[in-house]
């Protein structure tokens, strides 16, 4: 029997954007997309796509659906998980989603999962690199009433349960969770694979399945934000580095130690 997996994926500004190019429009409280740097799929969500693909590699019969909620999707970006090997791309694409916060995102995801499901596993990255809230997938488990395991670095399907490793500060827990469950995936799982040419060709032929809010019986009114963004800004740094000078690099090292001693730091 096919195991249906949904992976939540978010389109975010490329976090590798150099600090010098990271700019904010303070009149709209939004990040100005740097010229020529396209958005990416949130890195931890690609770890979650990889987790699903590893289950397939291990011989499980899985169907992998990638799901996202937003507006202004860049299709080349959002098709990357398909190029890696995912089967379907489901988007809730609606301009009514422009101003929602993550409580709204969770409501929309819950609605589309209920419409498109049932799913056996719901996977998300441990957090998104834009708002760093790390709670959409956790919240979804509450709204759907499903068991939750966070920070999963390894998973294995055993019929109607999954064996998991959950990262803790100095090691990991071994955990058994039922199917269906909600899991957040962490980068300790391993680097996401690069799409190969065949994957890219297949992805280019696939069409995303697109829902609007009205398809889901939701309106912008149902998604009123709980957090109102008042101000977004780049903090000013007033730190002034003291560069250690000397005759050569070996001398720098010696001088550094002496300087730290002088400041009573060592």
């Amino acid at each position: 029997m096919t195991v249906r997996i949904v992976v939540l994926a978010k389109q975010v500004p490329d976090p590798e954007t150099p600090p010098s190019q990271f700019k904010i429009d303070e009149s709209t409280n939004s990040v100005i997309p740097p010229n020529g740097v396209p958005p990416v799929v949130n890195g931890f969500d690609l770890n979650a796509v990889e987790a699903a693909l590893l289950l397939r590699d291990s011989g499980a019969d899985v169907e992998i659906t990638v799901m996202s909620v937003g507006s202004d999707f860049v299709m080349d970006t959002m098709k990357k998980p398909l190029a890696m090997g995912a089967d379907r791309l489901v988007l809730v694409d609606d301009s009514g989603l422009d101003n929602i916060d993550s409580s709204g995102t969770v409501k929309v995801l819950a609605a589309v999962i209920q419409k498109d499901g049932p799913y056996d596993l719901i996977l998300g990255g441990r957090q998104a690199s834009d708002w760093d809230q790390a709670h959409v997938t956790l919240g979804l488990s509450e709204v759907l009433g499903l068991p939750l395991v966070s920070l999963v670095q390894k998973l294995e399907l055993n019929g109607d349960s999954v064996s998991l490793q959950r990262v803790i500060p100095d090691g990991y827990q071994t955990i058994t969770a039922p199917v269906p469950s909600v899991l957040t995936i962490t980068n300790e799982l391993g680097e996401p694979r690069y799409p190969n040419l065949r994957g890219i060709m297949q992805a280019s032929r696939k069409k995303p399945e697109i829902f609007s809010l009205s398809d889901l019986g939701l309106s912008a009114h149902d998604l009123a934000p709980r957090l109102e963004l008042k101000k977004l800004y780049i903090p000013e740094s007033n730190k002034q580095v003291e560069l250690i000078d000397g005759e050569d690099e070996a001398d720098y090292g010696k001088k550094l130690a002496l300087r730290l001693r002088e400041e009573k730091l060592i």
Binding site: V143, I168, Y172, Q173, L227
Partner: protein, 318 residues
């Protein structure tokens, strides 16, 4: 009056941990604050002198709930339902991040994680939190009740204020059937001092070029009585175990001296070490972002700098 529930955590010695003491200081700074501290399990005797109105003890987090938090989430939810606080504060630990988020969605209210500031004025609560990996700060007004937040460690300073709170037990009357079961724990071997507790941290990044240089960093850490850290790039490359990762999704450290070797200083990394007393940057690239964050810097090749640094440290500490 502003009713605040603060969920405490204990440290390895079963004492109220630093993050909780910092959160108490933050809570007491709010206008008209009336603070209740919830502690899972037996309260340490120091709880009797916390500078708060009330201490409530909940059932202990049992081994089967550790890391899953189904029972403790149910207990805190019941406490929130019965006492209706306007704001619930957790530390930004694994526990706080998971239980806080679940509580927010269970009670259909607002969640703001990893806050560095909370305030209340005429119109409810506002928080400031780092976003985009720390490249920017965002200020939010919270427009639902209760507001559930986690507070970044080090954002507030603990103070020495004391009080004489009433202490009572709270029984949620809920026994959760665990759908998820923890079958074991595997601890990575650790030598020397815990990274989070170290007064000196020597961290390596992509600039080290491979796993071998970490032995040099380890020598230096040992000479200083400190611990070895790493950037996420070095951990993801497999050069060193992820338990050494410092940063937004790794460990937060606040040593006296944080020595960053071959680390570019991305905001996600700095989020884990910016509360260090002094950051020392050693990097070949003078334009590297780390020099904007550091107090002391050496533009140079770590392979040439570190041996003389180590030798001088040994002389000074001999």
């Amino acid at each position: 009056m502003t009713s605040i529930l603060l969920v405490a955590e204990l440290d390895e010695q079963d004492e109220i941990n630093q993050s909780t003491l910092q959160a108490i200081a933050a809570a007491n700074g709010l206008v008209d604050a009336v603070v209740t501290v919830a502690i899972a399990g037996e309260a340490p005797s120091s709880a009797n002198t916390l500078a708060v109105e009330k201490v409530v003890t909940l059932a202990e987090v049992s081994v089967v709930d550790e890391g899953i938090y189904d029972q403790i989430t149910a207990d805190i939810y019941a406490l929130v339902e019965s006492t209706s606080p306007e704001v619930v504060i957790f530390g930004k630990s694994d526990f706080g991040s998971v239980v806080g988020a679940r509580l927010a969605f269970r009670s259909d209210s607002a969640f703001a994680g990893d806050c560095i500031e909370i305030s209340n004025g005429g119109d409810g609560f506002s928080v400031t939190r780092p976003v985009y990996g720390g490249s920017a700060l965002a200020e939010f007004d919270i427009v639902s009740n209760p507001a559930i937040i986690t507070l970044r460690s080090g954002a507030y300073e603990a103070n020495s204020e004391t009080g004489s709170p009433s202490v009572e037990a709270f029984d949620s009357g809920v026994t959760v059937e665990h759908a998820v079961s923890v079958t074991g724990t595997v601890a990575e071997a650790r030598e020397g001092v815990r990274l989070e507790d170290a007064n000196f941290v020597v961290s390596g990044g992509r600039g080290l070029g491979g796993p071998e240089p970490f032995s040099v960093l380890t020598d230096l850490a040992n000479a200083l009585g400190g611990a070895v850290g790493a950037s996420r790039a070095a951990c993801d490359a497999g050069w060193i175990d992820h338990s050494h990762q410092v940063g937004l999704t790794g460990k937060s450290v606040s040593p006296d001296v944080y020595i960053a070797v071959g680390i570019s200083g991305a905001s996600q990394h700095m989020a884990g070490c910016s509360s260090s007393r002094a950051i020392v940057a050693i990097n070949k690239d003078a334009d590297s972002n780390i020099f904007k964050e550091a107090r002391f810097g050496i533009v140079g090749d770590w392979e040439k700098v570190l041996p003389s640094f180590l030798a001088t440290v040994r002389e000074l500490r001999a």
